[in-house]
């Protein structure tokens, strides 16, 4: 059961051997002594060959969000099966579609300047996203029709939240 972990564009080969007691893992072929102990609701102590690491781990949409020395890592885990499916081109698409406007930063939705059904030109301002003293005007990424507005004024959104969907105008 060879497994891959993906962190950004980095791939790490892991091998998990569920034993009678603790599972053992090897990284890139090298086996290590490991012990994961829960510290608190979100935090864990991981000893790898005696090296002490203090992590917080939370499941996320993409896999797992790991905080380590105040750096956040997004970890995706893949089994042999996943890898095989990927080879067959069965990987789920994750890229946002061209007409989807997402929040570039977390913030508060200010004035919304379009309505569903409106025709917009690429560059037209759709709405204002307020964040920490700044007002950010979000423009339409392409020309078309406002298909769906997912937010309302005064709403707090996270980074990456889908705000508006524009369906592209048919050419000709």
């Amino acid at each position: 059961m060879i497994i891959k972990a993906l962190i950004g564009d980095r791939e790490i080969d892991l091998q998990l051997r569920p034993g009678d007691g603790l599972p053992t893992l090897s990284v890139a072929g090298r086996q290590a002594d490991m012990d994961l102990a829960q510290v608190s609701d979100y935090s864990w102590s991981l000893l790898i060959d005696g090296q002490s690491h203090y992590l917080s781990i939370r499941p996320s949409r993409e896999g797992y969000q790991v905080l380590l020395r105040e750096q956040t890592y997004q970890v995706r885990l893949q089994s042999e099966m996943d890898l095989a499916m990927e080879k067959l081109g069965l990987r789920r698409g994750t890229a946002a579609e061209a007409g989807t406007v997402q929040a570039p930063i977390p913030g508060l939705i200010g004035a919304i300047q379009v309505s569903e059904g409106d025709a917009v030109e690429a560059g037209d301002i759709l709405l204002v996203l307020e964040a920490m003293k700044m007002e950010n005007e979000l423009p339409a990424p392409l020309s078309g029709v406002v298909e769906k507005i997912h937010v309302t004024r005064g709403e707090i959104v996270e980074k990456g939240a889908v705000l508006v969907v524009i369906s592209a105008a048919r050419e000709g």
Binding site: M1, I3, A5, I7, G8, R10, I12, L14, L16, P18, G19, D20, P23, L25, V27, A32, L36, S40, D41, Y42, S43, W44, L46, I48, H53, L55, S56, I57, P59, R61, G63, Y64, V66, L67, L68, R69, E70, Q71, T72, Y73, V75, L77, S79, E80, M81, D82, L83, A84, P104, I105, P106, G107, L108, E130, A131, M132, K133, I156, E158, K159
Partner: protein, 502 residues
């Protein structure tokens, strides 16, 4: 002295003011918006009064609500902290009109020094060099073009009525000047209700160095030394230290004297900061004066041993300063890192969310000022400053190493912070050697990011292992088979289950 102080602020500065009040035996009144009902400054205060809904325009900036809260609780004095209404002449005037003590300089000084052009005039009168420029905001376009030509491009168009980068434009070429003036005027007009703008020479790669001064109502004005504030992004400070590793002792003395001259010239009272730009040849120019407590005041406290907030309270109540210029003998070195809810390696993008866990550093030479707690929501309503971590050392190197150590101990789970960015700054050769100016971040952001990635090169593998063991552990045991295939991998099951339950 008055007995009860209302603190017209929130976050770490409200907590900071509260601490000094308590040490002096004064009662404290906190104010809170609905977003801050259970914020630390409310939990720590003797009394707390609601002043409105979350947006600061409806709460912390509502002069009437604040004065009502003071009247209701019998507070006799108001401390504005920094930001919000701290540099509002009208608020200071209303506070005094209500018969309360305003803990800050008199309204007329706030008004005067808040007007950048009036402040520049005071500096000139006090014999202090200012950044070359054209102060006649009403000059006709031809005159402005000529002036810009004379001082040499790039030039800065700045608003007379305020700061914070609003109404400010950097202009590279003569043909861009008229348009820039127009935009700046309009921005300044809407931001400060004052559309006057002026021209300043753009100094390349200056140091931003400021001098803390203090004056009482009895004519004594003292300099408490300088702070080096050149680690900035978008004119916002990230790291400060004192003493400056850059300036000579002669310049240090000159800056202190210049700051005192300007403060004396305008009859200053209370805590104030005189900001200077210093070029590579140690020429200095007055930039502006801040008529309030500064975010970075703790580094000055660490090397002088003074409590600046306590001193503000004393001065406001009419007492003389507790020290004279001869008492100021700065000892050792202090550094401050600002902990923002921002990702320093992603363009300082703000981060909101809930602080799930908070672990604070301790031990020798560490001081932490913050206004957060575990379980607190970081909302987009307010400034993203969570707190300030300061260290003191017998020398700069010790303070710096101690800062790295303390930053490592600080753990904030739930939002991204500037902690890893600050760690990279502490370890960057230019910072280590004290060779940096206001372009430090812009110049080195790539290096800082690469350095962080390099020195943490082993961490992605650790994170992957942690996630794998976590998934294994959290997975339902019945599915667990020795030598199981990928298809029944317990951790993928667990991952999927959790995704579905969202």
């Amino acid at each position: 002295m008055f007995n009860k102080v209302l603190i017209a602020n929130r976050g770490e500065i409200a907590v900071r003011v509260l601490r000094s009040c308590r040490e002096l035996g004064l009662q404290t009144v906190a104010v809170f918006s609905d977003a801050d009902r259970t914020a630390p400054h409310v939990l720590m205060a003797d009394e707390a009064v609601r002043i409105g809904p979350p947006p600061s325009s409806e709460s912390y900036l509502q002069m009437g609500h604040l004065l009502e809260a003071a009247a209701k609780t019998g507070a006799e004095a108001i401390h504005p902290g920094y930001g919000f209404l701290s540099e509002s002449g009208p608020f200071a005037r209303q506070v005094e009109a209500a018969g309360l003590v305003w803990i800050g300089p008199p309204a007329r000084i706030i008004d005067e020094m808040g007007d950048k052009l009036a402040a520049r005039k005071r500096a000139v009168e006090a014999g202090v060099p200012i950044v070359p420029g054209l102060d006649d905001a009403t000059a006709d376009p031809a005159l402005l073009l000529q002036a810009a030509e004379d001082m040499g491009y790039p030039v800065l168009v700045k608003a007379a009525g305020g700061g914070g980068g609003k109404g400010m434009r950097r202009v590279e070429r003569a043909e861009d000047l008229p348009g820039a003036l127009e935009t700046a005027r309009s921005e300044a007009g809407s931001a400060f209700a004052d559309d006057r703008v002026y021209l300043e020479k753009y100094l390349s790669a200056p140091h931003h160095i400021e001098v803390q001064i203090f004056a009482d109502q009895h004519g004594r004005t003292v300099s408490l030394g300088e702070r080096e504030c050149s680690v900035q992004r978008r004119y916002q400070k990230v790291v400060e230290e004192t003493p400056s590793p850059f300036i000579s002792d002669d310049l240090r003395r000159e800056l202190g004297e210049a700051a005192v001259r300007i403060a004396s010239a305008c009859g200053y009272i209370g805590a104030g900061t005189v900001e200077f730009l210093v070029d590579g040849e140690q020429n200095f120019h007055f930039l502006e004066m801040n008529t309030r407590l500064q975010v970075e005041h703790p580094v000055t406290e660490l090397v002088t041993g003074l409590d600046l907030v306590a001193e503000q309270l004393r001065v406001a109540s009419g007492e003389p300063l507790s020290f004279s210029a001869a008492d100021i003998r700065p000892l050792g070195h202090a550094i401050e890192c600002r902990i923002y809810a921002e990702d320093g390696f992603d363009g300082f993008a703000p981060s909101i969310g809930t602080i799930l866990e908070l672990t604070t550093p301790g031990g020798p030479g560490v001081r932490l000022d913050h206004g957060i707690r575990a379980g607190m929501e970081i909302s987009p309503y307010y400034d993203p400053l969570l707190g300030k971590l300061c260290t003191w050392g017998a020398n700069r190197d010790q303070a710096r190493r101690r800062m790295s150590r303390a930053l490592e101990e600080l753990r904030i789970v739930g939002v991204r912070t500037t902690v890893p960015f600050c760690v990279a700054v502490m370890e960057h050769p230019a910072f280590v050697e004290g060779r940096y100016d206001t372009h430090f971040i812009d110049r080195y952001i790539g290096e800082l990011s690469r350095h962080a990635a390099r020195s943490n090169a082993h961490l992605p593998a650790v994170a992957a292992l942690g996630a794998a063991l976590y998934a294994e552990r959290e997975s339902p045991r019945p599915n667990h088979r020795a030598g199981g295939t990928g298809a029944t991998s317990p951790w993928l099951e667990a991952g999927r289950r959790r995704q579905r339950s969202r």
